[in-house]
């Protein structure tokens, strides 16, 4: 099995590891580094459960190889400050099983960074890369909308 040495920053810590070249980023984060907050729901780029932040952009952790993250800065759900979003998700029950939640939170964070005052439909559209089987989405949209309004000056 071919391996390669990579060095990257994950949640503020520098890590260096020898990884199989075929290993994807989310498996590396989960199984090699123990950041199990990013989940795996399809390994096909469709469900968004594996969403992580790579150099300030959300990516599908299952579609990026670990070796592609060499030299990059990676953030996972364990490493981001999202107190207001988390509180709103909790208060409004915007999660049930919680398997989609890390990906949802990271997508919502990116949306609010790029568009601080989104309409409900814009929220829905932005989160349409993140499958949630439990909630029916409305409470998630409510939570993101609530935080957007709270954050407005």
């Amino acid at each position: 099995m071919k391996t390669r040495r990579i060095a990257l920053t994950v949640n503020g810590e520098t890590v260096e590891r020898e990884v199989p070249v075929r290993q994807n980023l989310v498996d590396f984060l989960r199984h090699d580094l123990g950041f199990t907050g990013s989940h795996v729901g399809c390994e096909q780029g469709a469900c968004g459960a594996c969403t992580v932040v790579l150099d300030d952009q959300t990516v599908r952790g299952c579609l990026v190889l670990a070796v592609q993250a060499d030299g990059a800065t990676v953030e996972t759900i364990e490493g981001v400050q999202l107190d207001d979003l988390r509180a709103a998700f909790h208060r409004l029950n915007a999660l049930q099983c919680g398997f989609c939640t890390p990906g949802m939170l990271l997508s919502a964070r990116e949306l609010l960074r790029d568009n601080p005052n989104p309409s409900r439909q814009q929220i829905r559209d932005y989160l349409s890369g993140n499958f949630c089987r439990c909630t029916g989405y409305q409470a998630i949209v409510d939570a993101v909308e609530t935080v957007a309004l709270e954050r407005l000056p």
Partner: protein
Amino acid sequence: MSIGAGVPRDRAKRLLGGRGRFVDDISMPRLLHLAFVRSPYAHARIEAIDCLAARALKGVVAVLTAAEISDAVASWRAEHKLFPTMAAPEQFALATDVVRWQGEAVAAVVAESRAVAEDGAELVAVAWAELPAVVDAKDALAPDAPRLHDHMDGNLAYTAEIAAGDTKAAFERAGHVAEEHFRFHRHTGVSLEPRGIIAEFEPSEDRLTVHQSHQTPHQQQDLYARLLGLPEHKVRVICPDVGGAFGLKHHLMADELVACVAAKLLARPIKYIADRLESFLADVHCRDHEVTARMAFSASGDILAIEVDDLFNAGAYGQYPRTSIAEGNQISRLTGAPYGHEHYRANLTMAFLNKSILGHIRSVGHPIACAVAERLIDLGAAKLGLDPIELRRRNYLHGDDFPRTSVGGIEFEYLSLRDCLDKALAMFDVPRFREKQAALRAKGVYQGLGIATFVELTAIGPEYYGEGGQHISAQETCQIRLEASGLVRCYTGATDQGQGIDTGVQQVVAATLGVPLEAVEVVSGDSALCPVGGGSWGSRGAALAGEAALRAAATLRRNVLSIAASLLQKDPADLDIRAGWVMEAATTHMSVAEIARIGHFQPYSIPDGIAADLTVVERYASKDRLFLAGNGIQLATIEVDVDSGIVTPLRHLVVHDCGRILNPMLVREQIRGGVVQGIGSALYEELRYDNGGHLLTGSFADYLVPMAGEMPDIDVAHIETPTATSQLGVKGAGEAGTAGAVGAILNAVNDAIAPLDATIAEVPVTPPRLLKALGRI
């Protein structure tokens, strides 16, 4: 009072931090990984399996086939004594000589990593002799159809009829008859977290410990003990965080059993996590029914009779241990259940065919029973020239009709059908929609309104599986422990997959005992720690585990008060517990913590003869009734693009009666999630196969699920009619959303296309089907 409050869930905080503990998050020393060799054919004979190359691969520890494991694990048959004539062919953990669906596992590769296990699986060479496959129930029952199971005469798994009154005579005297032929295609549960298991075996103790993404730890404990020949008290099944289940995870799955077998044979922990393709191929599936039904009306619009013929299939075997009969059985009992007709006949016929096994997925049978009857009512209304809403109201069971055993054989204590309808109409202005609809039609925009009334069967009683011979508890036991600090631990047999039953139980215990919510911790999902119970399925948690918790908390409260009364030299009847304090009217005497301290460390201060147990156990089963029936109504509006065939949901509302509500926020969110699953099966979700039984929709690119962008906001309101069968008064709420959504959407689509003289009775209503119905393709 914590009952009735929309309190958020404690567990959610951990999940929000990315600190959940799902099965695949768990690791342990010397863990091995499992990958399966699965059949590429729907039906084939296994001529030979060559494992040499796989075994030689670096990192592969073992390759197991039926031959290697047959001494270590028993086979099973999905039998049910209430359906004694149902065929129950023998099934094995790994296929022996014949595979009967694409995706059936024939070999398991155990390796140091999942990737290497998959490499190994690719090196296993199977010599197949393909056999003709049957993929449709009608074809399966044809006299010359290829047989799945050699010992059977054909592929008929079961057939039965239930009847009340005289439908033949009723149809003869009917003023109008509405009739339709429906097709409800196959789909599945699609939990975002796939199925997964870690099995560990300690040979010196014969001890199997399993972490599994599952709904029913005690059922699994019993099954693994019996199938592996282990003493039951040496088997422990722990369900950690579970990433969605929806019925998908309350069966025995052959591949998961193989993980246990491998752990036993190799004495090393084994992890198996299904990937998405395996999930689509080999999870239990649901629906796949062809229903012909008709409804007879009097000239003035009374429903006289209903006849239903349901043809469906079990897949290749019956699902173990619950069997595959329930979906047809529910349809045959539930169709038209909200209405007052006296003549009823339902026939169900179940075939075996070459697809994955049909199991119990959320709202078993309900969406079909509801859609069939509600569509017939709309068709009948058109024939009668009556308003479909008024036609429903006129025929609803109401008032003095209750209590009643339905023509389908289900006990109804009370159904609040008219109240639900009135509330729905107060929330949605139908006349205004009709005006707008007419104006839009003039512009070539086709919107539609659909209504569906549903009855929801929840909290199954113990007789169904008890008499059936399954080791499945429908009883719930609750153990409550007042710890020495005065804080409370509560052990329940229900399990939490995100629906929030832990929080519901916590609310019941806190309110009944008289302590703050934070003083109560609920422990669930562990077969060794928790009292034997059924887990969570069929909307049973709040009604059954909630009632058991109420009883246990009431007993503990009595004991705490007896101790307090003895210490204070008071009459217990004059004392109360509020917010963790023993009170006498407005006087605060002592804290529950103080009583706990004395009860545990100074028991000599309490005279003998006082009930001073601080660990108490109570139980509850909803005896002598098959289900606790709830009810509700859904109203959907949609827009059809007649050029593309795309249906866009616009608004959706649900009025629901699940008795007393423990936590309105959690109930509302259950319903919304259920509605979206229902919309998924109405518009998108379908496991399509080619004529050879090969799955065509094995990824999210082909099997479409509802995403946020296309889903509507969903209004939810309640009528609360507590059941008098328990002290708590709760009925279940988990089926409602899915139960009514398909019928509401199907009626809405038909309402939209009615002016184009088109109808459709096949779900999912995909663009090609709709364009065909419209005559555009």
